[in-house]
Point group: C2
């Protein structure tokens, strides 16, 4: 067994409710019917995109609570984060909802990271109901990490489009839901010395392959044991790289049951270069499409992994490279439990 | 009982090792003999202050491991963060040490937040050894949050000096140490609509009072039950405000056994305005002075609370106010356990 990185949850926390919201472009993609709300424009009646992102974050928590008939005051703590500096989307949403808050930062791996921390808090009987959430917005991410959209910079073919979206899962040991979190593997930081802020797929693929192979080894499972293995936002290029790396380094073949949220939320012909990215990508796909299809019975056991590129303008401007990290959780539909 | 915000740790995780490093100015203050290392200058042979901060973060983890005779590879996961955008000090330290990483962001409340997450992970038998850390650096914080030092801006009397320092505690259920984490209370975000980035004490005092009063209520304790109650970085002004708020709103008197790390690490005559602040303030005071004095027997039961101002240039530039958050843990010296 590899280093102790894998957790098995004895009490199998349930995803008792969930919600997602996405932007207009995401609402034109193949998963459009799965989201609770599709925005009509990028601004949603706010006066800045940052405030829109915060509104999305707050909305998914409120909506997840409402869908699950859970009074907001019954949520013990909010675990989550986003890409904006000082995770203001999550923090200000927590402020407005008067919630206890443990802010997480794992770049685009935040949804899985929050689910891991949330699962530990419920599985270990520390808290009763925990909300886990993440968000991102195309316009806020571009201007913070790359160039303001108004500059009209040309994007290289490896660029990805940050998903405008947010997702929230509410975890508890008790409830009607038969969707459970059963295990998780925590990521370590892998740096293949890529320094191109427009090639996030390549930054994250090595850490995705590392966490996946570790998870298979520690849980004595193989890719065929899952109905679906889905990474967060490697995109079209990163997905291929991940398959190549895990095959060459670990002899593992990720086949037809493997995909990536960033390749599912957009199609190649939507003008999104290498597909979707951002915290909101895996957060909205999980809390829209994936859980919905698990409830319908299409998938019974999913390996869900969010992938993060620890890109920082501060470190990039000091000639640092961009490391990656990836965390995964196993989500299972358990009959009669 | 108030809302479920308090955790009691059944297995009382031990602080099995700890380490701290501070800058030159902190090394001239009253706690100078408690730190494992005092830097000779602000740069420590690096080519930027950001890289110095990262070096401090890495150093405290390595040193805590070494002091506890713990091989670095035995540390299952690093929980921590810092004030720099995308928490690069913690993330790059984790990269260099090849550690699994769950990045935390709670502004200056990060040390207590990391101890809470780390305590849950060990107390619940999820991991064996967890390192919890936080750092800050005067020069990196000033240029990211306020003005570059080179501008020589005048600082108002309510300003605090961000501590150049880092601290790390290694937690485990097993080991020689008799210093245990026994309970914790998670903070919620309180916003008294202060928008002055040079008045952090006033931003954080209401949340400190809120978490403290909630902790007393939930654990049925009062200030006299602790040998020491110590907040993170309220500073001279914020400490007084906290005493005033908790007295007026909750009828609780914080007396002679109450102090603040920011008031302990510097004296008023050191030209530091309202005292120390930053993640590194409570992190270095805990992992230098506090644990050392608990080992010697001066303190047997401490209520340690880190306080965070969720200041973000992104939100401030959009006319947002600055919310505060505070998390606390109870640290006890238990004989014969």
């Amino acid at each position: 067994m590899e280093k102790n990185r894998t957790i098995t949850f004895k009490n199998k926390p349930r995803i008792v409710s969930y919600a997602s919201v996405v932007g207009k472009k995401e609402g034109e993609g193949p998963l459009k019917n799965y989201f609770d709300k599709v925005l009509e424009d990028a601004i949603w009646d706010e006066d800045s995109w940052e405030k829109t992102e915060r509104k999305m974050f707050k909305w998914v928590i409120e909506t997840a609570a409402e869908k699950g008939n859970i009074p907001l005051k019954d949520i013990d703590v909010l675990i989550g984060g986003d890409l904006l500096n000082q995770i203001i989307s999550a923090a200000f949403a927590a402020r407005d909802l008067n919630m206890c808050f443990l802010g997480q930062y794992g770049a685009c791996s935040t949804m899985a990271q929050s689910l891991i921390v949330g699962s530990v808090l419920t599985d270990g009987y520390y808290f009763n109901k925990v909300a886990c959430g993440a968000s991102s917005h195309f316009a806020t991410a571009e201007r913070q990490y790359r160039f303001p959209l108004e500059m009209g910079c040309q994007r290289p073919p490896t660029a990805q489009r940050t998903v405008t979206g947010a997702g929230c899962s509410i975890l508890s040991l008790h409830g009607e839901s038969n969707i459970h979190i059963t295990s998780a593997t925590i990521g370590r930081i892998i740096d293949w010395k890529i320094d191109d802020a427009n090639n996030m797929g390549a930054v994250m693929a090595p850490s995705a392959a590392d966490t996946l192979s570790c998870h298979f080894k520690n849980t004595k499972t193989c890719p065929e044991d899952y109905d679906l293995i889905i990474t967060g936002d490697l995109g079209f290029h990163g997905k291929e790289l991940c398959q190549k790396i895990i095959n060459e380094e670990h002899g593992i073949t990720l086949g037809a049951n493997y995909t990536d949220c960033g390749c599912e939320i957009f199609t190649k012909d939507m003008g999104v270069d290498c597909g979707g990215s951002g915290c909101g990508c895996s957060a909205s796909v999980l809390n829209g499409y994936l859980i919905e299809e698990m409830k319908k019975g299409k998938y019974k056991k999913i390996l869900f992994m969010s992938t993060g590129a620890l890109l920082s303008p501060t470190s990039s401007m000091q000639n640092d490279t961009i490391p990656g990290i990836a965390h995964c959780v196993v989500i299972e539909r358990l009959e009669g439990e």
